[in-house]
Amino acid sequence: MKNSKRILVLAACVILAGLLMCTFLSRTIFTAMQPRVTKAYVETDRIQTTETVYGVYVSRETRTVYSPCDFEVDALQIQPGAEIKAGDAVLTMNGQEIEDRKRALDLALLELQIQGESWLSTRQRNALNLRIAAAQSALDAFQAKVPEDGILLAAESGEIAEIAVHAGQRVSKGDELYTYSTDVNVEPYIECSLPTGSAVQVRAGDTVQAEYEIKSRVNGEEITQLATADLVVQKTETDESGNVIFRAAPDDETVLPLSHLARVKISVVSEGKVYDQVVPLTAVSETGDGLLLYVLRTRDGLFGEETYVQAVKAKELARNYRNIAIQCDSVSEGTQLVLSTDHALADGEEVQVIG
């Protein structure tokens, strides 16, 4: 063989060997540079939505004290904003009038009792007994409500909100004397409202979650912690504007460490609806004309079966913080989707599925 031919053969071998090496190298580099994706599946699932509203913690009640009888107010021992304890003197009633009234009730009862000592027919005696019982109960009631010493005492601890009478004023039985707020015998609850048109609904018996702050002092420093509690809805009502106002409290005997009218965050979760095509929220991206997601498909490549992505458009039906229900003709239950990727994807691009 001539030298020139030998050189040509050598050159051809070198070139072909180089191209062969480049082929394997480029295949390796190409595979290494392929986008790596994780997959998720289209499932039939329920989408529950959560609405967050703010409510107030109610642990006190405003109560009103009414006049037990007709009397004249002698003096007041209370003033608005004052804290009172059970048994504290609230006001002084005119003593003479109380006495006169009690004496009148006593005399009425005595007269009836004297009548009872004489002979009466059975019918007359029965009628008299009824009158005696009524007079006795009136006397008992008077004695129960009206203090003997004429000093009206507070029945419960609380804070005076408003005083409706003044010294020297004459009040009739049943007139308002004063109002006070108290937490005695009050079952605390949280009251909040859902706006009109809310996606969630509440009914008595539903469970909602409360989130609140607890402030405490540690080593002289004030720290705030977040705590949660599950509450049960006790009752609901709708106001004139269509807002749903509901009241919720812990199901067990738990007392929330909150002050009256403290602000509480309430999360209300709806029962939700079942959808045929539910995917994780991270599998979709929002574009100008709807949602875009990438479906994993397989095809025959030169080196065997290869996985590639197909871009499809979908319409949103419902979502929560984790999943989204879509409507798309190109997918069905069990279809594999791209959940996350380390590169931007293009329609038809070959990818590597990891995990």
Binding site: L8, A11, C22, R27
Partner: protein, 290 residues
Amino acid sequence: MNRSSKMRAMKKRCGRAFCTLVLCVCAVTALVPLVFTLTGSFIGNGELSDAYSGLLTGGGSVRFILLPKTVTLDHYTSTLLLTPSYLIKFWVSLGLTAAIVLGQITVSCLAGYGFAKFRFPGRNLFLYTIIVLMLMPVQVMLVPQYLVLDKIGLLGSYWSLILVGWFGAFGIFLMTQIYRRFPDDILEAAEVDGAGALRRLWSIVLPNSVSGISSLLILSFIDNWNLVEQPLVFLKDYRKYPLSVFLSYINNESLGAAFVCGVLAMLPALLLFLFLKEEMIRGIEYASVK
């Protein structure tokens, strides 16, 4: 006498100069595409788009660049190292062409030997049919070939190209012509010595027809290396297309890759021609000169 001889010499020189000029023009015309392909493979993307985008969009002007402003190896890097599909197309083309050429040479040698050295009924009719087939354009045969391949279930596979290439008419005709000139005496002597037909072909005819086979090899290689219509019609999967088809689908985004693939496509044919050019010329001379 001196004057006339001087005139004759001058005419001869002018004639030679004129021929040289014409041949130079032809050579330049033939080489220009090659040079621009080679140059284009080293030009950056921006300059390429500016110069050649008019060619692809069908509007605007095209500017051929001989000396680029910036020389870059980016296209070679991306084509040879980052995108395996181009090299795979190259190997597909090479494998396909090698399979077709080897098969065609085998069939042509056997058929040519049979037509040249044996007498059988209908020999001339078959030979003339082959000549007629050789004269027909490739496109005329595409439809009947498609129908036959569809019937036998080979559409979509590489065998649809290989089998069609094996039974090419030109190769049979060329080898028939070459073997016709082979002296019968040698073959008769070998027959007397007990050599059978195939033995005579293998031991005597083939070694002495290397030049003919070389010319068939080169011509067949170039013909099949540049297949475009058959792969488009017979192969259904675009991923199976050879390099020659890809070069007809270039667009703005793959201009650089197209130039590099053009250089790649030139290499095998160029190397083969350089290796076998003497044999090819001898073979064509032998086949054509009485």
